[in-house]
């Protein structure tokens, strides 16, 4: 458990953050730029000192202002990978990796170095200089260097920012591997909700230096404060499920979510894995009767739980589809024409191509209904 309860005042910036993060697990710090995410990271790493408060990791006090305890940064054993990979320019890739390895307690073995090189695919780069590497390669080296220092916690501060989409897709799986196979606790800072959905088990939503919401990803996805940050395009439910089968010819995946079975584009999914899906509110269509003759692959029957305002032109409809709750964004005229109201039974239509599952070992795929939205 990572426990953070800190206050920092600096000029016109004022941070007051209290949250707990399960270890192992991936806790995402999410928020707009300037919300204080990086400041929190620097406080946990010990690169900044809070004015007041306490930070503890798995029972070890890292900082406690009241007890006048503050472990210096280099004794905290917290690995950091920042947006800027910050490789040491005077050392080659091997030298950078060894910098972490030699300072691990106890000192890292060569087998460990080899394993990390293997894990991150750095074998061909060892003799290269940082400036000879691509952005994605630099980040992998930075990650390897941090891992080799054998951290108790890994802080990843927007490690994918300023990379193009292709590089990002190339790097995200490394982080997923880290989370699922190595069970290193991770605090992941991001302002891209898609990364949060794919990686995190928990989210702490920061707004202007305050924790606006925290909890499981599926839970925080429904919080109004988050919607305000995401904007209408990205609002949606996050649901966990389990792959039941994959169509051999098309690669389409059939995913069990609560009582429903939905079809999503496979994206290389294989059988019986826990997966997580982001179901964007703008991709949902509501029908008041079971439709016929549509190309849409997913028709889920559900009950409207609530209808909330979403700007001048639309409303958000919360629909319980037998376990998970989905969010649909419909225009106000449509909502009134269909006479949508809480308690009404309706059909939700989702194109399979609008859905893509991501393997997520911590997704609550095997759990019974009701828990995802809890």
């Amino acid at each position: 458990m990572l426990e953070v309860d800190i206050t920092l005042r600096r000029g016109d910036f004022d941070l007051e953050a209290t949250f707990k993060a399960a270890t192992p697990g991936v806790t995402a710090l999410f928020g707009r730029s300037g919300s204080g995410k990086s400041t929190v990271v620097n406080l946990i790493a010990g690169l900044l000192r809070p004015n007041r408060g306490r930070i503890a990791l798995d029972g070890t006090v890292l900082h406690d202002a009241a007890q006048r305890v503050s472990l210096p940064s280099h004794r905290r054993r917290i690995g950091c990978v920042f947006q800027d990979p910050l490789l040491f320019p005077h050392l080659d890739v091997a030298g950078n990796l060894r910098y972490g390895q030699w300072r691990a307690h106890p000192r890292g073995s060569d087998a460990e170095l080899a394993a990390t090189v293997e894990l991150l695919g750095l074998g061909a780069l060892l003799r290269r200089r940082p400036h000879e590497l691509s952005g994605g390669e630099q980040r992998r080296v930075a990650l390897g260097r941090a891992l080799l220092s054998r951290p108790r916690l890994l802080l990843l501060d927007e490690p994918l920012a300023s990379l193009d989409a292709a590089r990002r897709d190339e790097l995200l799986p490394w982080f997923e591997t880290l989370r699922d196979r190595h069970a290193i606790p991770i605090v992941y800072v991001s302002h891209e909700f898609e990364e949060v959905v794919r990686l995190a088990t928990h989210v702490v939503l920061l707004e202007q230096g305050r924790v606006a919401a925290q909890g499981e990803v599926a839970h925080v996805a429904m919080v109004p404060a988050l919607r305000a940050v995401l904007g209408p395009e990205l609002v949606g439910a996050v649901v966990d499920g389990r792959v039941e089968s994959v169509e051999p010819g098309t690669g389409l995946a059939h995913i069990r979510i609560g009582h429903s079975l939905i079809t999503a584009s496979g994206g290389g999914l294989t059988g019986a894995r826990p997966v997580r899906l982001q179901v964007l509110a703008r991709d949902l269509i509501i029908a008041t009767q079971k439709p016929v003759g549509l190309s849409v692959r997913n028709e889920l029957e559900g009950t409207i739980r609530a209808i909330v305002d979403d700007g001048r032109e639309a409303v958000l409809v919360e629909i319980d589809v037998g376990g998970p709750v989905l969010l649909a964004r419909v225009t106000r005229p449509a909502a009134s024409e269909l006479a949508l109201e809480p308690g009404r039974r309706i059909w939700v239509l989702i194109k399979a191509t609008a859905l893509r599952g991501h393997v997520h070992a911590h997704a609550r795929g095997a759990r019974a209904e009701g828990e995802t939205a809890a």
Binding site: L47, P72, H74, L86, H90, G100, A104
Partner: protein
């Protein structure tokens, strides 16, 4: 005559760099990395030799390090070391005069280092001394080397402070510029003066080119 002056100049300049460089690194560190009261004053004192007449620097050194001065007297009575009017004194005077050059070069390279690199080293488990030796110092190397070479080249020609503090003793403190001055003062010394001037010219030029070249090569090595 020329050779002796040249040898002495090289020796004095070398000692002055050896003496000044570690202090220059410390001063550069204090000036660019730490916040303390009197930082501006330290900055001014470090740069003072650039704006003071060298004779004033020599005079102040004489007051401090003369055998009756507070520091010189102590050195003489405790260790039997005499600084004024010796080649060690010439080296000291040269070190003081070239100190601002060294500090400036070192400080520039120190300020070019991204402090987040040191922060990263910290999170990897490097304590402050470890960090300084493995990250800061190697990254400062181009500036340190360039500063040393420039100070050395400038030190070969230091005149005013040396002649005031260490006097013009043949074989002891008569470096190139002092020998040149002496030659100009003596009848028929024109040819010797010209040769000495030529040597100074070549040395200075070599120093500047070398400093630039070495620092560029080192910067490439550290990938900047």
């Amino acid at each position: 005559m020329e050779l002796e002056a040249l040898r002495l100049s090289l020796y004095v300049a070398l000692r002055s760099v050896a003496l000044g460089l570690p202090l220059a690194i410390i001063a550069a560190w204090l000036l660019s990395r730490s916040r303390f009261i009197g930082r501006t004053l330290l900055d001014a004192i470090v740069h003072l030799p650039l704006v003071l007449p060298p004779v004033v620097v020599g005079y102040v050194l004489l007051l401090l390090f003369g055998t009756r001065g507070p520091l010189g007297g102590w050195l003489y009575s405790t260790f039997g070391i005499r600084v004024a009017f010796t080649s060690a004194g010439a080296a000291l005077a040269t070190a003081v005069m070239t100190f601002p050059l060294m500090v400036r070069a070192v400080r520039l390279s120190l300020e070019a280092i991204d402090p987040r690199l040191e922060d990263t080293a910290r999170t990897l488990g490097a304590g402050s001394i470890d960090r300084f030796c493995t990250i800061t110092l190697p990254l400062m190397a181009p500036g340190i080397v360039a500063g040393a070479i420039i100070a050395f080249a400038a030190g070969l020609g230091e005149f005013g402070a040396v002649i005031t503090f260490a006097s013009n003793i043949p074989g002891e403190t008569r470096t190139l510029p002092l020998a040149l001055y002496t030659a100009l003062q003596s009848p028929g010394g024109d040819a010797l003066a010209a040769r000495l001037a030529g040597i100074s010219f070549v040395l200075g030029l070599t120093g500047l080119v070398l400093a630039e070249w070495v620092s560029r090569a080192l910067r490439r090595r550290v990938g900047r």
